[in-house]
């Protein structure tokens, strides 16, 4: 993954709480091979009407919003289903950072594995940002090194898990990291077989049914 140090570009206000992953990408699109791109599915059923026309006034349909790099939303962004396709939709659309007061746990892990920065801000800062962005996307800068958000002459700080921050800043891949722990894993398995002999499934028995 490409290291991520800062995200600069238009920030789009999405003044909604509980934007669950079913909204970020409706289930029916997840059969699509990733190579075809998931950006067009982002928030599909909120962004487009039954005929497939853009819903007037929806934030991502505002002039200039197509180029958004940052989304600002209310609490519990990305809750619900574990579908990583929700992150694919954001990333393929061009979003590299979501700012919100809180995120679903699984969403945060998925974001970290796809170079998307989940930046946690206070409720009051979030409301302030939404107010300042109201009506139109504006240029913003999110700096992961300093954990700051800059909008015009204003600066806000954000929170992020330190491990996730390092991972994003270095563009690490977990499988490569874990490969270095082969000895520890092997030692664990030897010890564990003694400590928890019931943990590995044997051959199935006839069973009750």
């Amino acid at each position: 993954m490409t290291p991520l140090l800062r995200v600069e570009g238009p920030a789009c206000p999405l003044g909604m709480a509980n934007v669950d992953t079913d909204q970020l990408i409706p289930a029916r699109f997840m059969k699509t091979p990733r190579e075809q791109g998931y950006g067009r599915f982002l928030l599909h059923d909120l962004r487009f009407d039954d005929r497939g026309d853009p819903v007037a006034g929806f934030p991502l349909n505002l002039p200039g919003a197509q180029a958004s790099r940052i989304l600002v939303a209310r609490r519990n962004f990305g809750g619900g289903s574990s579908r990583e396709a929700a992150v694919y939709a954001l990333v393929d659309f061009g979003i590299r950072c979501v700012i919100a007061p809180s995120f679903g746990d699984i969403f945060v892990a998925n974001a970290g594995n796809n170079g998307l920065l989940p930046a946690r801000v206070d409720e009051t800062d979030c409301e302030d940002l939404l107010e300042r962005l109201a009506g139109t996307p504006r240029e913003m800068c999110v700096n992961l090194e300093t954990r700051t958000i800059t909008l015009e002459n204003l600066t806000y700080t954000f929170g992020i898990d330190p491990g996730l921050r390092h991972k994003l800043m270095n563009g690490w891949d977990d499988i490569d990291l874990t490969a270095r722990y082969g000895d520890e894993i092997a030692a664990f398995v030897r010890r564990d077989r003694r400590l928890r002999p019931w943990a590995e499934p044997g051959a199935p028995t006839e069973g009750k049914r």
């Binding site: 669950d20 990583e84 699984i106 330190p162 270095r180 894993i185």
Partner: protein, 491 residues
């Protein structure tokens, strides 16, 4: 979460299993620590995974594995289930939709290539992964179980740590049988007293989520405790743990006890004979120590829990069935007002409307939340000898549950009521397999999510227990099940 800050590895500490018994610990602590291979300095731990369930939707993860040309580290600990995309009718005709067929085919190909056991469409044990795992004895106390599905929290009902993961994490587990995780905080939810007739585990869950919020337990591992919980069957405990994620929790768990052991004894993959008895001894020791501390304590009185339904577009939008819909003009803040107004508009409802005045178009009984044999029995107890006023379908949690229900004549009850009795799968809970709620229709559903479009674009979902869905079916509107209960029978 990765803990490394350079190209070398450091920040190791010894597996804390070696220091067992030093200080009082919770059930969660004990299970977590017994799986910790590496403890990172930034709080991330490398954990061993005992059971990894995959399904059709896991194809993104298999693709990642293929890109790296990586083998599956432990196919013997990996179990595949066809549930999300499978049709629930006319299976012998194959899958008509080419896109859906291709996703199911990929699971067959990927599992064959890597030597992973698959419970496929033709398997008599096929079912929803979170029903099948426990049913087969693959789910046990003290295990760490993951799956690329958020309702993996269900398996915690047996006293293990179980949680949903994303596709990249699925690929990581396939490649290494381990996972980086930051340890969640610990919450104990103590529920005491007797549940009144008509109130169920579903109502407990909807009640706490409505009080704490859909992110009220975010960052926590919940241990459900108290006499209300220990009195629940395994089915009830699974419903409770299943819905942990709807309150934002990382996982939910219940300490293993005699109810757990009775359920597991004789299951195909559970230990057998003396090994089972020895395992039970070890499992008993997992219970939270008397002096152990939690980061947060929440208490609920079962006597306050009444039949509950959701009215909006988040599981936190839940109210007792005798309530009235909220009014955005009386909300505590503008964000809440916006949410209420938006949810009412999507759901086609009015502020102040009586919940029991909401008429429905359809019912659905199914999903990993409420499609086990006890759930079907409960719904049938209300439908027996009655007709549903609306169309609907019943999709059992597994093919074994289906056979069990048929042996008890429940299929006849559902069919006589006018409902469709179909095959097992995620069905209309995920709307990705052909079963879906038509736009604008309103469904009383035993599922777990009332998100916009969850059961189909434009569909309107009201979540409730199986008996409450049955009550809605026979009256044609959201209804209090209590007057319809058979004599004094607790559903």
């Amino acid at each position: 979460m990765a803990c490394i800050t350079s190209n070398t590895k450091f920040c190791l500490s010894v597996n804390p299993a070696a220091v067992d018994g030093m200080s009082p610990r919770t059930l969660f602590d004990k299970v977590w620590h017994s799986h910790e291979i590496v403890h990172g300095e930034e709080g991330g731990s490398l954990l061993w995974v005992d059971r990894h369930f995959v399904h059709e939707g896991s194809f993104h993860a298999f693709d990642r594995l293929a890109q790296r040309e990586s083998p599956v580290a432990r196919p013997d600990l990996t179990f595949a289930v066809a549930d999300h995309y499978v049709p629930t009718r006319n299976r012998s005709d194959g899958i008509a939709d080419p896109e859906i067929r291709s996703v199911v085919d990929r699971l067959y190909r990927n599992t064959r290539r890597h030597g992973i056991r698959l419970f496929g469409l033709e398997d008599p044990r096929q079912g929803i992964v979170h029903v099948l795992g426990p049913e087969q004895g693959l789910t046990l106390p003290g295990l760490l179980t993951v799956c690329g599905d958020s309702h993996t929290s269900t398996h915690g009902a047996f006293g293990g740590v179980a949680f949903g993961i994303g596709a990249s994490e699925v690929a990581h587990v396939l490649a290494t049988q381990t996972l980086w995780q930051r340890k969640p905080r610990r919450m104990r939810m103590t529920i005491t007293g007797s549940l009144a007739p008509g109130s169920t585990a579903k109502d407990i869950a909807l009640t706490w989520i409505s009080r704490l919020g859909a992110d009220g337990a975010r960052g926590y591992a919940i241990e459900y405790a108290g006499d209300t919980v220990t009195s629940l069957s395994m089915e009830g405990r699974m419903t409770l743990c299943n819905l942990s994620i709807e309150g934002g929790a990382r996982c939910g768990m219940v300490a293993p006890d005699a109810v757990t052991f009775d359920y597991l004894r004789g299951r195909p993959w559970a230990p057998s004979g003396d090994a089972f008895d020895r395992a039970c001894q070890a499992w008993r020791a997992l219970a939270t120590d008397a002096e152990a501390e939690f980061d947060r304590e929440v208490t609920l009185d079962a006597g306050d829990i009444v039949p509950t339904v959701t009215w909006g577009t988040s599981p936190e939008d839940a109210l007792p069935v005798d309530g009235r819909l909220p009014d955005p003009t009386r909300a505590r803040d503008s964000a809440t007002a916006e949410h209420i107004a938006d949810a009412l508009s999507y759901m086609g409802l009015r502020p102040g409307q009586r919940i029991t005045d909401i008429t429905i178009d359809r019912v659905f009984i199914g999903s990993c939340t409420n499609a086990r044999i006890e759930d079907l029995e409960a719904a049938a107890s209300i439908l027996r000898g009655r007709r549903s006023r609306v169309p609907g379908m019943v999709s059992p949690g597994s093919t074994l549950v289906k056979r069990q229900a048929e042996a008890r004549g429940l299929d006849v009850v559902f069919r006589s009521a006018g409902l469709d009795w179909v095959d097992s799968g995620c069905s209309m809970c995920v709307a990705m397999n052909g079963d879906l709620l038509p736009p604008g229709e309103r469904c009383a559903s035993t599922t777990n999510r009332n998100f916009k479009g969850r059961q189909g674009p434009g569909g309107r979902t009201h979540l409730m227990s199986p008996v409450m869905v049955a009550a809605a079916a026979v009256t044609g509107h959201l209804s209090d099940v209590r007057p319809l209960l058979p004599d004094r029978e607790t559903a």
